[in-house]
């Protein structure tokens, strides 16, 4: 009887583990959002690239601190297939976003998001938050708070190719 229970628990653990693994790599929703200039940006346009969806806001101090580092990463790893997309989190003011983009020389697209945009990926309340999407459009992970170098090395770098 004990063996039967143990075996059942093992099967359950394997099934649940597989489910968790599968859900961790589920396909990212095909977002279609306007950028700060009103141009439509689709997530599917970046298929084939490793996409970092960075949720941020101009009123969020850690977000603002993180962005210069993201600008550097975009420059450094663009040739290896990295594409960062900034997604603003409300409440946000378009002119404030544009001003901040100019100040920090943001070199990646920024789209205007809503709470629902973020909730399509996570229920976490933390900002900044970065969603990692692989070249096949699957969600490979999430980094809550500022993305530190070691987190980038561990979770993003393995998905990037060598210099093209």
């Amino acid at each position: 009887m004990r063996n039967l229970i143990a075996q059942s628990l093992l099967v359950l653990a394997v099934v649940l583990g597989g489910f968790v693994l599968a859900s961790a790599q589920e396909k990212a929703p095909d977002l279609s959002l306007k950028d700060v200039n009103g141009k439509t940006v689709r997530l599917s346009d970046f298929r084939g690239k490793v996409v970092l969806l960075n949720f941020w806001a101009t009123w969020c101090a850690p977000c603002r601190t993180e962005i210069p580092d993201l600008v550097k990463k975009q420059r450094e790893y663009q040739s290896r297939g990295l594409q960062i997309i900034g997604v603003t989190y409300p409440p946000e003011d378009g002119s404030e976003v544009r001003r901040f983009m100019q100040e920090t020389k943001m070199n990646y697209p920024v789209v205007i998001g809503t709470k629902e945009t973020k909730h399509a990926f996570t229920t976490s309340e933390t900002l900044p938050l970065t969603v990692i999407i692989d070249r096949d459009g699957k969600v490979r992970g999430m980094i809550e708070g500022i993305m530190y170098r070691d987190e980038f090395d561990e979770k993003v770098k393995p998905l990037l190719g060598s210099v093209e």
């Binding site: 806001a57 009123w59 977000c63 003011d93 933390t126 900002l127 500022i146």
Partner: protein, 442 residues
């Protein structure tokens, strides 16, 4: 998860992320117990918070170890890391008095790092001493860090940016209850100087009104308001005065809507108040002032007995302007046969942020305020019967200034005067109402 927690957790001496407690996210306060075997560094704590966008204002640390005399200075050598903490500051002599070199001691104080690299020293300016160690294996250290609001001055929504600034203080004139629900406490003493008349009867009132409020959550505010009133009166023949407690009111406010936008908050709240029959009810008698009994009752600090207040308010900010309005109804019950009429109030409040022209940090903000109040009071009652000529309809303007000297300290002054009055012959007419008040948030 808060960004502060994540930043601190990256220190080699920090515990696991979930063991770093953020005790007050608005004030940027947190507490954690470093790993006892690791050496700690204030400079490293400051640097890691800086990397996450915060400025560390100050930190306190509690260290348990062995007191040691090192030349002229006293040190505490922590166990088991062996890290040396130098004691400095005015309280050192007091703290070590009566304790022998080599004794166990627990010291709490303000913490800093002096020097860099191999020359770095951890300094504690002691605040207190404790001889008895609770448990030498645990709680060897507990460090408290304080991170200041910096970098952004924008309002933040109900998500974690770990730097949510206190909401701006609301206008404090009672005609505008304000919508700001500041999480924490506030004390608001106000002084009103009111001049009234009715024919040859002149009345002056000085009211000290102290409000104490507490906001346990961003949606709920509890408040109690205690007014004390001094009333003096005279006509051509007689004069007199009296001092007494007015009716204490208990308030609860529920902010049911809040849409936060950069430079454009919009919010709405409902407020319920219960005016308690605590005020002094004894009116001057006919020999003291020769006016009808209903008028004499108005010389007391009260308008009647138990009175529920219902209030609905909204506000909208946009750029440098803030506009608000509220509708209030007061239903009065009689006390010893007297009450003023039921009241309806409609108020608006327009504010303009005059200073600073360039916002760099909270505090030093000057607001121009213009409040308008429409009041209709129904027929009052005395000894169970309606009093003819006791109703009133009035419209007031109240220009004023509000100065938020510090983010938690606000001073306000305004002058309210009537522009339209339709008042029955049995009701005192208000000529002017000067308000001076301060608000302190804690």
């Amino acid at each position: 998860m808060y960004n502060i927690q994540k930043a601190v957790s990256r220190l080699d001496y920090a515990p696991k992320l979930k063991e770093i407690e953020v005790t007050d996210i608005k004030k940027g306060l947190g507490v954690f117990t470093p790993k006892p075997e690791k050496a700690v560094s204030f400079a490293a704590l400051k640097a890691t918070l800086k990397s996450a966008g915060y400025v560390l204002d100050s930190a306190d640390i509690t260290v348990a170890g062995t007191l040691s005399k090192d030349g002229d200075s006293w040190t505490v050598i922590a166990k088991p890391s062996g890290q040396k903490f130098v004691l400095e500051g005015p309280n050192v002599a007091n703290v070590v008095t009566g304790i022998e070199d080599g004794s166990s001691i627990e010291i709490t104080g303000s913490w800093k790092t002096e020097g860099q690299g191999a020359n770095a020293r951890e300094i504690i300016a002691p605040a207190e001493k404790k001889h008895a160690l609770r448990d030498p294996r645990t709680n060897l250290y507990s460090a408290r860090f304080v991170s200041a609001i910096f970098f952004t001055t924008y309002p933040s929504p109900d998500v974690d940016n770990s730097t949510e600034a206190p909401d701006p203080a609301a206008p404090i004139r009672v005609t505008s209850p304000g919508l700001t629900v500041y999480k924490g406490g506030a004390i608001t003493p106000r002084v009103y100087l009111v001049r009234q008349h009715l024919g040859s009867l002149k009345v002056n009132r000085q009211i000290v009104d102290v409000s104490l409020s507490y906001t346990p959550s961003p949606h709920i505010q509890l408040e109690v308001e205690v007014p004390i009133s001094r009333t003096s009166f005279h006509d051509q023949a007689t004069s007199g005065s009296g001092v007494g407690l007015a009716n204490i009111t208990a308030w609860t406010k529920y902010r049911f809507f809040r849409q936060v936008k950069t430079y454009g908050d919009r919010q709405a709240a409902a407020r319920f108040g219960l005016e308690l029959p605590t005020g002094k009810k004894d009116a001057p008698d006919q020999s003291q002032i020769n006016v009808p009994a209903f008028v004499r009752q108005q010389l007391t600090p009260i308008n009647g007995g138990l009175a529920p207040h219902f209030d609905l308010a909204f506000s909208q900010a946009g750029g440098r302007f803030i506009f608000g309005g509220n509708a209030e109804a007061v239903f009065r019950t009689e006390r010893d046969g007297f009450r003023m009429g039921h009241e309806q109030r409609f108020s608006t409040d327009l504010e303009y942020v005059l200073l600073p022209r360039e916002y760099t940090k909270p505090g030093g903000e000057l607001f121009l305020i213009l409040e308008t109040t429409f009041v209709h009071r129904g027929t009052g009652r005395l000894n169970g019967t309606p009093v003819a000529g006791s109703s009133a309809t009035e419209y007031y303007l109240a220009p004023g200034l509000q100065y938020a000297a510090l983010p938690r300290f606000v001073v306000e002054g305004s002058v309210q005067f009537p522009v339209v009055r339709n008042i029955g012959p049995m009701t005192l007419q208000t000529d002017v109402n000067v308000l001076v008040g301060v608000k302190y948030l804690f």
